[in-house]
């Protein structure tokens, strides 16, 4: 092609030629920072600063009111291992986590499978199962107290009618199971997340598996469950973090108020955060309580890393729709699709 044959320079229409960004677009970087700045400010002021402040306090003997506190080094951290209440509360928190997290995921996923089926009134069932999750926890706790109160509760009333021995539900050791029940009462949140995951699974995968001879259980365990595994991992991690930090259910189920609200929580519900709260506001040990919270923060980080590590082989990450479909179909039919 000669120069003479070369096409003339492309001429753009007049309105396209003057395409210098207008309005907000002229300041993309500034606009970006303007929009993220509220979050950034919140993160710095409400997360980073308190974290740093608590870290500093954890190395002091500050009592919350006196300005004459001093640096005590790692003393507060060493005290955690000598504090039987801290270790007891950590044990109770671990038990609470080990029970509530798997139970919430199993029940939530089971409910999600149920309400994902084409049954009559499906929308109503979804709403009913999800409703407890949106009820404020204070209202839930009140209902549970009314249900389980030894004198005026519905349960003991029924026991009385049946001439059965009435029971102190809100005292040790049963109050722990009341707290578990109250926590699982809000399982609708997990259900909604699992339902969203289930609805993201292409229907043809299930159909293909059935054509290849898989029954419903096999299709669920070999197709739905592997494809849901990233969702389940998310639920495990957020569930573990929430359970380790659980505080409100135990406090609300405790009947005392005032200065002994935290320390009169029954021993089986004496969770780690209750202990930290009592150290802060009942005992005025701000330095030690901050060390407790920092220890918890580190524990959560380690646990999250461990969960990520051990879940690597169990979680099925969808690298692309075709690969996922092939892999899942292969699982469902015991490898028949690949043969």
């Amino acid at each position: 092609m000669t120069t003479a044959e070369a096409p003339a320079a492309i001429r753009l229409p007049a309105d396209v030629q003057t395409t210098a960004p207008r309005g907000w677009k002229r300041y993309r970087a500034r606009t970006f920072y303007a929009f993220v700045s509220p979050w950034l400010a919140g993160f710095i002021l409400l997360t980073l600063f308190p974290l740093g402040y608590a870290l500093w306090l954890s190395f002091t003997n500050f009592d919350g009111m006196t300005g004459h506190y001093r640096y005590v080094g790692l003393q507060n951290y060493a005290d955690i291992f000598r504090d039987p209440d801290a270790l007891h509360s950590l044990g109770r928190t671990a038990l609470y986590t080990v029970i509530t997290v798997p139970a919430a995921i199993i029940i939530g996923t089971a409910l999600a499978v149920l309400v994902n089926r084409p049954v009559r009134g499906r929308a109503a069932f979804r709403a009913i199962f999800y409703l407890p999750a949106v009820v404020p926890i204070v209202a839930s706790a009140l209902c549970f107290k009314m249900l389980f109160d030894s004198d005026f509760g519905l349960l003991n009333h029924i026991f009385n009618q049946l001439h059965l021995q009435t029971i102190q539900w809100l005292a040790d050791p049963l109050v722990f199971w009341v707290m578990i029940a109250m926590t699982l009462w809000g399982v609708g949140g997990t259900m909604i997340i699992s339902l969203a995951g289930l609805q993201g699974i292409p229907g043809e995968l299930i159909e293909a598996a059935k054509v290849d001879g898989a029954n419903a259980w096999r299709a669920f365990t070999r197709i739905s469950l592997p494809l849901l595994s990233p969702i389940i991992l998310f639920e495990v991690i957020t569930g573990v973090i929430a359970s380790i930090q659980a505080f409100i259910p135990a406090l609300l189920l405790s009947i005392q108020s005032g200065t002994v609200a935290a320390t009169s929580v029954p021993q089986s519900n004496y969770l780690f955060m209750i202990h930290a709260y009592a150290q802060y506001f009942d005992y005025g040990r701000f330095g030690y309580a901050s060390a407790l919270l920092w220890a918890l923060f580190i524990l959560i980080l380690v646990l999250t890393a461990v969960i990520f590590k051990v879940s690597g082989r169990a979680v099925f990450y969808e690298s692309g729709p075709d690969e996922a479909a092939q892999a899942a179909a292969g699982h469902a039919t015991g490898g028949k699709a690949e043969r």
Partner: protein, 439 residues
């Protein structure tokens, strides 16, 4: 006109709105206006009428209330911006506040006041005095809005009638053992379900106050002479802890491990609680529950040891922080709230005894139960005693350590000696640290 919402127009609008808001705020507040921040119970204790009266007298002072909470108070002190007036319990907290240099010495204000003069102030207000070593002496740091002798009892006579048990004599003290025995006889329960509790002992205002009162009556003290150590293993303290364990074992009333869900007042007014350990202030509650007024009786405090004691457990009132930015305005509110119409209104309501002696004449006595309560109260004044607290540890820590030890003890069947060890082990390091912090 273009309907497009341009950035320029948005910014211009926002700037205008901000300007208008700033100008109107400045105009509204007035140049010499002051805002007094009160951490107190509004409107239950400082009523709207109290605030309106103060605003009428001091139109340039606005009042802002903040929630009465130790968490908030700590945060406000940490931020260097504490409230100007703070609600507190004078019995437990005066030495603690003064040793930490937190409370303003009000002696100069009292010296100039014509409303709150020494001759008008009740003896109980001395719990708000501290000279650095002895509570009850030295300058005043606060005042009680009202008070009661909190170890006294209110009896629901219907519960006694149903159990065919004679109610306690109003002015002769029962021993704690006798009180427990009466409670056993009037309690009605089936399994874990109670139709009538016998006793709600006088620990509700403060668990530590209840225990310290018992120990004092027995001639002991939980603190050593300079308040730097506790010893709950001493015989008097151990027997007080043992009484609580016996009471819990008798299952005649709620405990820290098995509390009463609806609270003592609800059970008492439903004729489901025979004796409740509350002071004169509970008459204010009775006034709001006419259904029980014909079958209540106010009786003297039970006696644990050889000495008859009937202390005030709290003397709830207010103090002014040293770092308050509006001390004069806060004092003006003090005079109004503690010495003028609000104090008269409180006395008339029967919600506690007034901190100003002359206002005892305003206490209600028109109804038979009010008259009975006032007669018993008048006889009880002579047995008034003062509890001792350490300046080195917050009373919340005492309450918390006792409640935690009781919860553990009642659930695990620990002995009183073991409970005492738990409390000592918790509190002594705190006292040691507290001493270092205020040194």
């Amino acid at each position: 006109m273009s309907g497009r919402f341009s950035r320029r127009r948005l910014l211009a609008g926002a700037a205008t709105a901000a300007g208008v808001a700033a100008v109107s705020s400045a105009c509204g507040s007035g140049a010499d206006s002051t805002t007094l921040t009160i951490m107190g119970n509004h409107p239950s204790e400082i009523t709207d009428s109290d605030v309106a009266g103060f605003s009428k007298k001091y139109p340039n002072v606005k009042i802002k209330f903040v929630t009465n909470s130790v968490q908030l108070l700590t945060a406000m002190f940490a931020a260097g911006d504490p409230p100007d007036i703070i609600r507190d319990q004078g019995v437990q907290n005066t030495p603690y506040l003064v040793k930490r240099d937190l409370a303003e010495d009000l002696a100069p204000y009292f010296a100039k006041s014509t409303v709150l003069t020494d001759d008008k102030i009740a003896a109980v207000d001395d719990v708000w005095r501290y000279d650095g070593s002895v509570q009850g002496k030295g300058p005043r740091y606060g005042l009680a809005k009202d008070y009661s002798q909190d170890a006294m009892l209110w009896c629901n006579l219907r519960v006694f009638e149903k159990a065919k048990v004679e109610p306690p004599d109003p002015t002769t003290p029962m021993s704690y053992e006798e009180m427990l025995d009466v409670a056993k006889r009037i309690t009605r329960r089936k399994g874990a379900q109670y139709s009538a509790y016998g006793l709600y002992p006088p620990f509700d205002v403060s668990l530590s106050a209840g225990v310290i009162n018992m120990v004092t009556s027995a001639g002991g003290s939980v603190f050593n002479s300079d308040y730097t150590k506790v010893d709950f293993s001493a015989p008097e303290a151990k027997s007080a802890l043992q009484w609580y364990l016996d009471y819990a074992d008798a299952q005649v009333g709620p405990t820290v491990a098995r509390p009463l869900a609806a609270g003592a007042a609800a059970a008492f007014f439903a004729d489901q609680l025979g004796m409740v350990g509350y002071g004169y202030w509970f008459g204010g509650e009775v006034a709001s529950n006419p259904q029980v007024q014909d079958h209540v009786r106010f009786v003297t405090a039970p006696q644990f040891g050889s000495t008859r004691t009937s202390p005030c457990f709290a003397a709830v009132g207010h103090w002014i922080p040293k770092t308050s930015k509006h001390k004069q305005e806060a004092w003006n509110f003090f005079e109004w709230y503690f010495g003028e119409q609000p104090a008269i209104d409180r006395a008339k309501s029967g919600w506690g005894l007034p901190g100003i002696t002359a206002m005892n004449a305003d206490l209600p006595e028109t109804k038979p139960y009010q008259k009975q309560a006032l007669d018993v109260q008048n006889a009880e004044f002579s047995h008034m005693s003062v509890l001792k607290y350490s300046p080195y540890v917050a009373f919340t820590a005492l309450d918390a350590s006792l409640s935690q030890a009781f919860v553990k003890g009642l659930e695990s069947g620990l002995s009183a000696g073991k409970l005492a060890d738990l409390v000592n082990d918790t509190l002594n390091p705190l006292l040691e640290q507290g001493k270092e912090l205020v040194a």
